[in-house]
């Protein structure tokens, strides 16, 4: 090994992720960088919908306070910088909030960068041509348009670090870019060096889903056993100046880092492993070499890179109607027969009340609700849930699903188990589509606040 090694830890893999493992990494990980990924495909559209209805919603990660309160003491003690996409639709507001938390802890004069410019809602129909999923013109999305955002790459984060940022908080950025940016900054990588960026982005891809590389989403008793699966930590990458990295985790935590967990995560959400598109580089995972170099230590080398795509990906969210949903239960001898009769009753009732739906699905949970026609039940289950869902154009139609399930209480089948309907049984569908936009149509913004 030559040159300096930087230590990058993961702090979150999605909005709802656990907080404590981020604190452990901040306090015990001896980290140079702690990086948080908190956005799913639908995060921006959900935030836009919520912001319209709730003027008090600040537009950034609703767990921002919990996450920063948990990690800032450890990060300040070690001098760990933070890179995070918790800015959602308001990175500037999130930066102000982080400045507040820093002042609360007595840390004055720290620089927090907000990276914006990913929101394209007002311009998306001018800047894009076709919907990638089905080839129709993006102009057909005009009526239901909720939001659109472009996936920015690592470069604006690198620029913010060059300008002295202690914390970089972004809106939409490609997930691996959050982890690639510190490597580019620390090692002075040329943003057009596809070989270095391919390896670095590949490491970012392995880190972005947090515990999915340290034993989460993995255990299968008897074939893939995981120590203390209730006590998982988030990964740490020890990265060398050429991008070679050892993936590991904190001692004294549950989980495992081995060839199996790394291989599963390497291919997670990947289509063509030779051409994984990111805003920074086209990653080639087919040349990756993995080596177990110690307990819970896997060395990753040889991930390749090709020039980055000429265009950037845009996510376009559209209101597409509603889903109504509910369920009820049967148990004991004859449970499945009663559930099947209940299914027939619902089908007839939907016909009688004239439910207008694009699609209706009635599953027997315990028999075939998850894998549908591929299911291979081995024996009749003791208990079963009837779960019904319908997609409709209006909320009124969607609510008919729950109303017909209400009818199953006293007008249904014998021995029906039912919940009191206190939960919301209709939800809005926000469809997410993709398109491409020219790089020069997008201008990232970087603004600073000081604590």
């Amino acid at each position: 090994m030559s040159g300096r090694v930087i230590r990058i830890g993961a702090g979150a893999a999605w909005w709802g992720d656990r907080i404590e493992p981020a604190r452990w990494n901040a306090e015990r990980g001896d980290l140079d960088y702690l990086c948080f990924e908190t956005m799913a495909e639908a995060t921006v559209s959900a935030a836009q919908v919520r912001a319209r209805r709730d003027p008090t919603f600040p537009g950034y990660d609703s767990y921002l306070d919990d996450r920063f309160a948990a990690v800032l003491p450890g990060c300040l003690a070690r001098g760990t910088k933070i890179v995070t996409n918790q800015g959602w639709i308001n990175p500037e507001g999130a930066a102000d909030r982080v400045a507040y938390w820093l002042r609360e802890l007595g840390a004055r004069g720290r620089r927090i960068a907000a990276v914006g410019g990913s929101l394209l809602t007002d311009r998306v129909l001018e800047l894009t041509d076709t919907v990638l999923e089905d080839g129709r013109p993006t102009s057909t999305l005009r009526d239901g348009l909720v939001s659109a955002e472009v996936y920015l790459g690592a470069e604006p984060i690198v620029a913010a670090l060059h300008d002295g940022a202690d914390v970089v908080i972004t809106g939409r950025v490609a997930d691996p870019s959050l982890f690639l940016a510190p490597m580019m900054y620390e090692f002075g990588w040329d943003p057009l060096d596809a070989t270095l960026l391919g390896q670095g982005s590949g490491i970012g891809h392995l880190m972005e889903c947090g515990a999915q590389v340290t034993g989460g989403y993995f255990a299968d008793p008897g074939v893939k056993d995981v120590p203390e699966p209730w006590n998982l930590s988030f990964p740490i990458a020890e990265v060398e100046p050429d991008g070679t990295a050892v993936l590991t985790k904190l001692d004294g935590t549950g989980g495992v880092v081995d060839l199996r967990t790394v291989k599963e995560q390497l291919l997670y959400e990947v289509h063509d492993p030779g051409n994984y598109l990111t805003p920074d580089v086209t990653v080639d995972f087919t040349t990756a070499r993995l080596e177990q170099v110690g307990p819970d230590r896997v060395r990753v080398t040889g991930i390749g890179g090709k020039p980055r795509p000429a265009t950037l990906k845009v996510s376009i969210a559209c209101a597409e109607g509603f889903i109504g949903e509910d369920m009820f239960f049967y148990a004991g001898p004859g449970a499945v027969q009663r559930a099947q009769l209940a299914k027939r009753v619902l089908e007839e009732r939907f016909r009688i009340v004239g439910l207008r739906a694009e699609e209706v699905r009635i599953d027997l949970l315990g028999v075939d609700a998850i894998h549908g026609p591929v299911s291979k039940p081995r024996c009749e289950p003791y208990e079963v849930a009837v779960r019904v869902a319908a997609r409709t154009s209006s909320r009124e139609e969607a609510l008919k699903v729950g109303r017909e399930v209400d009818g199953m209480a006293v007008s249904g089948i014998g021995m029906t188990g039912k919940r009191v309907p206190h939960q919301d049984r209709a939800r809005e569908v926000i469809g997410v589509w993709s398109s491409l936009v020219a790089r020069d149509a997008v201008t990232p913004t970087i603004t600073f606040v000081e604590s």
């Binding site: 291989k263 599963e264 990947v270 609700a369």
Partner: protein
């Protein structure tokens, strides 16, 4: 010896829009050729009939002893539109663990999760028979 995939490989699925990828990773390098020969894209598409409505492509990653299947039209129109309880298809890969393979007898020692009775038997208990 005829066994289900669960003893031969581990799997993970991920979602992008209405497309699911299913990575199938051999438990040992010696088992990888068995997967490559028997777990074809056409057989995987047939296996998921009624669930996967679009084409299935197979990518081979020999260095990792892994196959990556990319199934279009697999997620009920997409995560937000899907009426499936598992709308992300996170568990979609686990169905494939029931896929049956013929493993040469000399490789039986490479299999995972077989109990002693399975190991000594000429055939294991095939699924759905």
């Amino acid at each position: 010896m005829r066994v289900i995939l669960r003893h031969v490989a581990h799997v993970r699925s991920g979602d992008k829009g209405n497309t699911s990828n299913i990575a199938v990773i051999a438990y040992s390098p010696a088992l990888y050729p068995v997967l490559k020969e028997q777990l074809t894209a056409a057989r995987v598409k047939d296996f998921y009939a009624g669930v996967v409505h679009g084409p299935v492509d197979r990518y081979e990653v020999d260095g990792l002893h892994a196959l990556n299947f990319v199934a279009q039209g697999a997620l009920g129109g997409g995560v937000s539109r899907s009426l499936c309880l598992d709308n992300y298809g996170k568990s979609l890969s686990s169905a494939l663990l029931a896929f049956e393979l013929d493993v040469p007898d000399e490789l039986v020692g490479e299999l995972r999760g077989l109990d002693d009775a399975d190991r000594g038997a000429a055939v294991s208990r095939p699924e759905g028979s």
